[in-house]
Symmetry: C2
Amino acid sequence: MKNIPHRLILTEEQMPKQWYNLRADMKSLPDPMLNPGTLKPIQTEELYPIFCEDLAKQEMDSTTPYFDIPEEILDVYRAYRPSPLCRAYALEKYLDTPAKIYYKFEGSNTSGSHKLNSAVAQVYYAKKQGLTGLTTETGAGQWGTALAEACSYFGMDLDVFMVKASYNQKPYRKAIIQTFGANVVASPSDTTQVGRAILEMDPDTTGSLGCAISEAIEKAVSTPNRRYVLGSVLNQVLLHQSIIGLESKKAMELLGEYPDIVIGCAGGGSNLGGLIAPFMQDKLLGKKNPYFIAVEPASCPSLTRGRYAYDFCDTGKVTPLAKMYTLGSGFIPSANHAGGLRYHGMSPIISKLYHDGYIDEARSAEQTKVFDAAVQFAKLETILPAPESAHAIRCAIDEAVKCKETGEEKTILFGLTGTGYFDMAAYTAYLEHTMTDYIPTDEDLKPGFDSLPTIPGIQEQ
Amino acid sequence: MKNIPHRLILTEEQMPKQWYNLRADMKSLPDPMLNPGTLKPIQTEELYPIFCEDLAKQEMDSTTPYFDIPEEILDVYRAYRPSPLCRAYALEKYLDTPAKIYYKFEGSNTSGSHKLNSAVAQVYYAKKQGLTGLTTETGAGQWGTALAEACSYFGMDLDVFMVKASYNQKPYRKAIIQTFGANVVASPSDTTQVGRAILEMDPDTTGSLGCAISEAIEKAVSTPNRRYVLGSVLNQVLLHQSIIGLESKKAMELLGEYPDIVIGCAGGGSNLGGLIAPFMQDKLLGKKNPYFIAVEPASCPSLTRGRYAYDFCDTGKVTPLAKMYTLGSGFIPSANHAGGLRYHGMSPIISKLYHDGYIDEARSAEQTKVFDAAVQFAKLETILPAPESAHAIRCAIDEAVKCKETGEEKTILFGLTGTGYFDMAAYTAYLEHTMTDYIPTDEDLKPGFDSLPTIPGIQEQ
């Protein structure tokens, strides 16, 4: 038997030098984004007021399969990448499963998650264009931390609109973003028109990601030399995150392994899209047939219970319209602890792959079950997972237990996107049995679906 | 010029399989520990009620140069080791220094620090002896987390006496220890005689490490099949931590490098002793002459202002007497944020090496200056350091700046012992300019020195 190490970390030379653009190999592409004013397919130039030009081009490019990673970005990647591919020996032994469980661990950087991979790229291109600042939103705070880190490194101003619920519940998350020099604003705020309008309607609202996005975009387009950046959902983000999958695949090749099952948690889809990218390429090209599973919270079930429809990416309805699985931009997610998965929509690329059957399965998990898995994993694998990541752990454990029942020696790969250091309030709630599960009824989902836009000739209510 | 990577991580095969025992190469050994009752040099067997037998033997063994690391311990090490040796390219560039700055990063495990290296070893040997539980104390909480992790892995009960100040200020640190299944008690507590006695004298005390040690020992010796473990100071801990230095030296050899200066923060001395171990061997054997610097907080200056004397390791005066640099077991450290460095004494090995001139320099740093360095480092190197670790960063930056002035191309190695995720209250105080420095006056130090024991014929007051 081959001697497989607990952790395989590629050398700096082995680190991929290009990102992979999944769209280039998709036989059927996601439907085009629409201009919210004209309802016509959006042109690259129309994105320039929001995104810097290189990123707008990456967003719209469905044909270039590989993008060279600029040396300046590689230079930052090298401070924390390649990330380890780990073999969960202790977990396998505990489960007494014939399955082999691998995980790609993206938490070994200060942002504590995979978010830094795209943050570094987005800040670099903005800097290259001569911009002086960026705006963004953050929910759980991982994206805000990652972007603050990247802005601090490249010397860019940053305004972070932080969902008010997180702002109040996670003072230390706010503090770390501030440590990297960013300006943190609780959203909704009175610093934007859209924020003031939302506050007027509901002064006690604790905000949402969709609302924070609206504020961040307004701030970007109304401030000179400033653009908006987003940490998930977008095509460009999935492109940057492909480094996760490319490293994973190369490391598994060195071990003589290939996954039968690839599992990722799914909020906006950035980690899932990045992890599966090169394996999905194999499937699209008919070379291999791995089984892909997306795992989302039962409280915010966009893939499992949402509609595949055109929708806004934000509550304020200022973004382009994207065709995606969505609960409707009017859906207000419950206070699930996995803040990073609390978003009404899903990456258009992921949505299309799921709709066309290339992503084999979407599964939802209740949060107490997710924390069962998180604590079990922490005790055995000595890494405290982020609640988001623990959705993938839950599924990996379930699949490994199935293998025990069937005797199948499957190779499972899942994405361990980050660490849970800033989620101890949630862990405490779990330990003290005050954590509850929430599964929305069909009635609960109705207002969200009712908020879906009507687009003459394309989409009726 | 050789192409030196940002991070060099040894392979699993390259990871050292033995610990190195510095005492075996010391020409002059630390003075023997004394039995607090008889005031005679303590015998190994006398330690058995407190420590498990294998650890008691390691504690007393001054002659065996190398100890094989048991396979069961290597198995856990492999989940997070080898740890990276990093080149601080961004910091060097920012400082515009000709110095080369390397750091050994020990924060990439859930305990967030180097403490796990010894925790795993100590729990393993206790388990091997058939014990069922352990007790310990924790100040900042890193040791408590590491030990809880190790106990959870090996299936051992654990009582953690957590200094009350930390218990109240760091609910999330407590929560992570509990997540790993340990029982956390605020110290002083009413669960021990010594705790009750201290509370009777001062009901409002927020505790100290020395007091928590007394409680943990009492609990261990009064409970069947239970022993006490300590995360620093002891010879056995420095032995286990030698893995840090051994990996660092091997990695530097692969790069064709050798440090001119080695810098470690110093609380009880475990990280410093582990980091310098193989380099100190070179110095003891006359092969090389690296310059060693220990950095401690100005608020708790055991090396720079303490006495080299026999003292108790705890406030309750139940431990053996050790010859070390000490501020006196009656010294109550101020609420410096670097909780892990807030201890009245210093490892007897480190103390002896410093006393004999093998450790070239001890330096103290004020905490605002330490946080200046921490934030600068975080922004450039994208790792948020623990306040303890930042003492070493402060010194490394100062040495690199000196190199700029003199033009010397020195090679600097420092220990980055851990991450600061649970220290955001301190970072916030720094950012909001409410953090203050405290340097004790000679008057402030007097009660501590007055508490030093009198040992007829050996030590007078």
